[in-house]
Symmetry: D2
Subunit: 470 residues, 4 copies
């Protein structure tokens, strides 16, 4: 599923451009963010550096809502620009917390945008407060920016190099000063980040689909633990010390977050999903008349399942393309009447059929329960749910909005129990080793924390001895 139907959410996407020719850097970031909109629909922002000033605009809403032609036109021409799209939970759904963070400090003007989540923010913040810092927002990014500034001695690269060892968690950053664009990826490479080239311009993006959208050629991924600096001298690369071997890329990016036309760390998202569908058919077969996917993101896997199993593919569900963020929840009376504004069963395809319904993942299970009910009411004889990833049983503290274990339908339940809860005839999950196999083209290892509880960083932020800033 995707869009407004999503049960879990990525928290951000970032984009940056350093241009020597095209002065419309804000426009470039605008189209880059548009292509990354699936990574965050709550707020967005663009900051532009020109001369010694940084001008920015941030707002609540989708990219085209915040950046109307009027607002976009107010941003000046410049050499460098960065942008950000954000999703967050309601508690902090405020303009105040939108990014990029922009301020003046030892390195002059500076702006920073962040995708990921630190586990030791509270402790860093407390420490910085005790050393006279003040904070105007509730977000990681401000803490990161303040610490980078504090350790910079006026040299931004210095600041980044010294600050990164203090950050425990997932981060893919773009930051800029008046004359430099910098990209940083955490030592495990948990969140994706890549580099593109268009003529003499350099782009940084969370996903390669954003490079395609602005006509840039994919150059390479930013490596785990790498700091990439783009300035008038070109692109230079700096590695952090003590980078762990192999990386631990978040496998959920392939399962669900990333756009299918992106290629991340050498692995096509489309191919990974296709392969997951194929392996799912091998290991979790079902006796059925048709195979169908929950639109849109599970369709690739469903078709691969169909091809591998020989069961014909047919769409069981139509999706209303116009349901967006502002959807008003129907009141009880309508809901009981079986309302399906977002999804609708295609009766012609399912009446009297036994259906294999493929989805990419199941988190809380509430949407899946409604879908199964809808299929049965439209005449499905059997519904067998097949999931392209293992059961989600652990909350994530590295940037995915999976909050509490108690909400996870997969936690502490057998497949039979889950099937009963969602009203399906059977439920089967793709085992973790098969999912890893499906993403076999990826050059990095994986974080499978939400499936097996093993995270590269502990939830409480880990060893505190680390945090001595000087």
């Amino acid at each position: 599923m995707d869009g407004s139907c999503r049960e879990i959410h990525e928290e951000c996407g970032v984009f940056g451009v350093y241009s020597s020719e095209n002065r419309d850097v804000a426009g470039t970031v605008y189209y880059g963010l548009y292509a990354l909109q699936h990574r965050g629909q709550e707020s967005c922002g663009i900051a532009v550096a020109f001369a010694d000033r940084i001008t920015y605009h941030k707002g609540m809403g989708l990219v085209p809502e915040v950046f109307t032609p009027e607002n976009l036109a107010k941003l000046p021409e410049g050499d460098i620009a960065i942008g950000h799209v954000r999703y967050s939970t309601t508690g902090s759904s405020q303009l105040l917390n939108a990014q990029p963070v922009v301020f003046t400090g030892k390195c002059g003007k500076m702006a920073l945008a962040h995708n990921g989540n630190l586990t030791n923010t509270a402790r860093l913040r407390e420490r910085l407060v005790s050393e006279n810092a003040v904070f105007q927002t509730a977000i990681d990014s401000e803490v990161m920016a303040v610490l980078i500034n504090r350790l910079s001695d006026g040299d931004i690269l210095n600041g980044v190099r010294r600050a990164c060892p203090h950050f425990a968690g997932a981060y893919a950053l773009v930051l800029m000063t008046a004359d430099k664009l910098i990209a940083v990826r955490d030592p495990y490479g948990i969140r994706p980040l890549c580099i593109g080239i268009r003529d003499d311009d350099v782009m940084i993006a969370s996903e390669s689909c954003a490079l395609d959208a602005v006509g840039a050629k994919f150059l390479r991924d930013v490596e785990p633990g790498e700091i990439v600096v783009v300035d008038s001298g070109g692109i230079s690369s700096h590695m952090m010390d003590d980078i762990p071997e192999g990386g631990r890329m978040c496998i959920f990016e392939y399962v669900y977050f990333a756009r299918s036309d992106s290629v991340i760390d050498g692995c096509s998202v489309y191919r990974a999903r296709q392969e997951a569908g194929r392996l799912l058919a091998e290991c979790c077969g079902a006796d059925a008349d048709i195979v169908s996917g929950v639109p849109d993101s599970a369709n690739v896997a469903a078709r691969a399942y169909s091809a591998a199993s020989g069961i014909p593919f047919a769409e069981a569900l139509a999706k209303n393309r116009y349901v967006g963020r502002t959807f008003i929840q129907p009141e009880q009376s309508l809901r009981e009447n079986g309302i399906g504004v977002k999804l609708n069963a295609i009766r012609a395809n399912i009446e009297g059929k036994r259906i294999v319904l493929v989805d990419d993942s199941i988190v809380r299970g509430t949407t899946m329960r409604k879908i199964v009910k809808m299929l049965r009411e439209a005449g499905a004889r059997e519904v067998h749910v097949r999931v392209c990833s293992p059961a989600v049983v652990h909350p994530c503290h590295l940037g995915i909005d999976i909050r509490s274990r108690s909400q996870l339908i997969g936690a502490g339940r057998s497949e039979e129990q889950i099937a009963e809860l969602i009203g399906a005839d059977s439920v089967r999950y793709l085992p973790a080793e098969q999912l890893v196999r499906a993403c076999g083209d990826c050059r990095l290892g994986f974080c499978l924390g939400c499936f097996n509880g093993e995270y590269p960083y502990p939830e409480d932020g880990g060893d505190t001895d680390k945090y001595k800033f000087e």
Copy 2:
């Protein structure tokens, strides 16, 4: 293709409800219109009848934009409500022209919403002006409403029966007075209209998907030339005189406009598209490595083509789900760099491949030219375009936004010439008789005017002797 990528546009969708129990008739229409949003994204409106008053709200924009929770809450409870979604060309993109049309006249308060297009509006208008009428908008619907009122003698059913013979063109109407909901379909049944039941409530909708959305059961289609009256006495049916045999339903509804989960006049839209894809494979084969569809609407046909031809299906294009009406056109410099904000090629699937690209129709051809270019740049070796309908060679004057023959790439050109224009290796169209076969479940005959120029009504509105109002 669909959404903002569409090259042609339906002009309207209508929805009505008569309720004896549930007082939230505005809420019901809201969800009904949401499900019909694909039929019109420019403006929308809802009118509610309670006691002797009709209250309404209309606005420019999508249903959830116009009907924010605050605006929806301002509409009162009531017994009857009708609603409308509208697309129009720029000239008349004004709030003023939004529907429903609401006024006071001989039958008291009355509201009317219209899907379709009359060919003799100008003449009717002129005639009515000469008899002292004034018009505050530029739309057909006001002319229809004024004539119905004029001929009603205070009895709305009378007015509708006497007025309909004067309407030359396509119309699917919902109208209401303080105590009646009326649905009307033109004598040829050119635009779809159907009836649903939910408990004791009666619904009228342009497509059955809207009935599903509000939890209503499909009862039946409104027949060509039928006037359905819903009031405290239940549902009654009245047929116009001299109804032509067989009907001439617009076949483009199946090809492109209607939602795939709708069933119109007995024929599933999904099935019709699937069958068109199958027949296309039979008659217009190609030597290729993969079959792909232009997302989203052509995917059904593309998969059927794949199944019939044995050539594997693979997605060649990813669609940005967030590109909406407010998209800012990139300036030239970005566009030349190959920008693809709306669609992006999935290189992993197409590099080095010979592709059959299925689309539902081609009108002006400009989008298809860009897509073919994008595929080639992503490494496609050959691109064979296959279209699920005949070449569009005639403008439509019955409610589809196909304006001028000179813009139609198919007009006066051979398939070879078209292929050259759009840069494809070959282009083949499904012949009209095959398309008709694909829609064989439909109980009505078809209007194929845009393919063969034979329309049920002439463009100039036809015989004028008809227009004597008394």
Copy 3:
């Protein structure tokens, strides 16, 4: 008092321009309406005629709110334009009812804006409905426009001449077609209307202050019963038949509605108010230490009272210049604490003083009661209220928002009873004959209906035999 403190409201102001040189007719109307804003703050609109089209924009709110630079710029250049500002009671506070009314009929495109109130609207409307007319709004203006069109035979002047005898009530109209600007004043001249000249341009305005605002020279008032036509042939004048002698101009225009810098029918509003204050001192003296006026409109009279009585003038009340329409009413707790956001007593001027407080009129008395209380709390020893007009004892049905007799504090009460109700030591009203004397420069007679119940038209619209349209 004025602005948001006003207890009663005028219902409209109108402005029109016919230009042979300056194409920015919309801009001229904009500034004209700005100067007439005191006559209506609820909605406003401007319509522009160019070639055969009439383009308009209307909205809820003040002139600068509705006509932002963007909205104003959207109106085209043209030859003729008319505009309207409107106040109305809540029931019909809808954009729908904003003016000008614009439509197409026998005279082609036509727009009309109306200041005043008819007493026989319902009957005209009913009659027109029975002859097939439909109405989309609830306002007089639409009825007037439809009847004018109906009787015009395609000649607008014809229509106006034939329709006016059917209008029973107050009206000052501006209307336009593609090539004519027309101004009409009812046979009694109840509402003001005047003509100005700027170079070769002709202006029509409710008050002369609007002519000053656009740099036009006052030419003359439109006469009671006069129809002024402005077109390429210049200005021509047409008188209705059977015009009553002398006119009956609404005297409340001088008392309260009009701006003090306007001159109406030969009489300066400022001078009339000054003279009323002087006569008030003569007939309604008081033993006091200072004279003060309720700001702002009563200050002129208060100073004249001071000069005539020899009691020094001092401001007792300061007014918050920023309190506007969107003021949030304080909740009870704050109100009980004596909140005075709109007005504040100037303690330095009133402590220990006996005060004569002059106001222009008292309608419901609720505001005056609060003011007296505020003055006493600030230390006033005595408060003697003196009013520049007689007690309002009759509702008005000719365009002033004085609705129900039961709300009128002056109805059926002696001055002593009123004083007790509002907490004043004494209350005295200027007798009607003195008020008429104060407005002695006016060339017309007066309607004193709200003081003596004698209106030129009965409330129920009068003799119905009149209404035969042919």
Copy 4:
């Protein structure tokens, strides 16, 4: 003059409340800010402390625009709240720079609002940046807040006491933490600040008129150099060290900024203006027929001039009460025609007259030139301008928007030269010693810097040795 006609601008107003009973502290601040709206119309904000959180809303626009009922309702109940209204020059007209400044630091949550201007901000900022601070805005208030936090050792009163000696300039502050409301006035008392009591609630306001507006009783002014702390223990007072004798209150507050119903440091603003008018008549007489004031603020003085000189008072100018911030400047063609949308001459009062026109001050002189022209066009025979304050000849760096000496019409010109420039028959200014005499009730001495160049703080911020933070 006032409102949108003002040539110079105060930069801020502040309001704070500590409540033990009434939980609607945001509502109280709302009405307080409403009464201070004349001190700043560009942006405003309210922050509320409840439990350990501070919630705020800020926006561009007037108080009722920013705090719609919806927005006001979103602010929680609480114990303490502060608010701010702001004017600024265009360069920094951004939401970003709106106040209060809110952040988390050593003292927990903290909010600060500031009226005034520091002269050494740049140096303080530079120094703080060198000690690792970052700044997200361009305003003084952030610098003050950061320094207070830095020097606080976690005790807010500590921070204020240690930081104030570093602030060179004018400041009247309200700040709050989770449990304290603090008011601070600079050692010279340049900007006003006073304390009020309502039941058990304590209020702090820039002017006493805001205390009246919320029903609070004036307790006393905050003394120059005083720090007032309000918490659960009641009100306590702390004096800064080395406070200069006598104070130097900005005399322009009496001349022009403050509302006439305020009493500042023992002197009624109304009385001071009245007395200035009287003294002006004594020292700057003129042979004339009428005395008139530029509305609204100069009317008090004009009437006093009239009383003292025996020349009758009459209004020469009417003001459009509806001209606000969003006024669209008329284009040249209209302007040349003598447009007077904001002010209009009352011809009846001035034709053939010799006029004394009183204004409170003249800064650039451009508006006065237009007014004199308007009066002459309306028939004035002579225009003698009399000003209630000396010629403004020095820019102010303490919070008044008088920027550059070159714009000051009074700088380097004789009264005769100025009269010629503005087209008047004569111009006379009230000498400084007479103005001081008029404000004789004020317990403090005065800053007369804009008249005589003697400011309590040098423009460049003064002695830098002072700035050692430890």
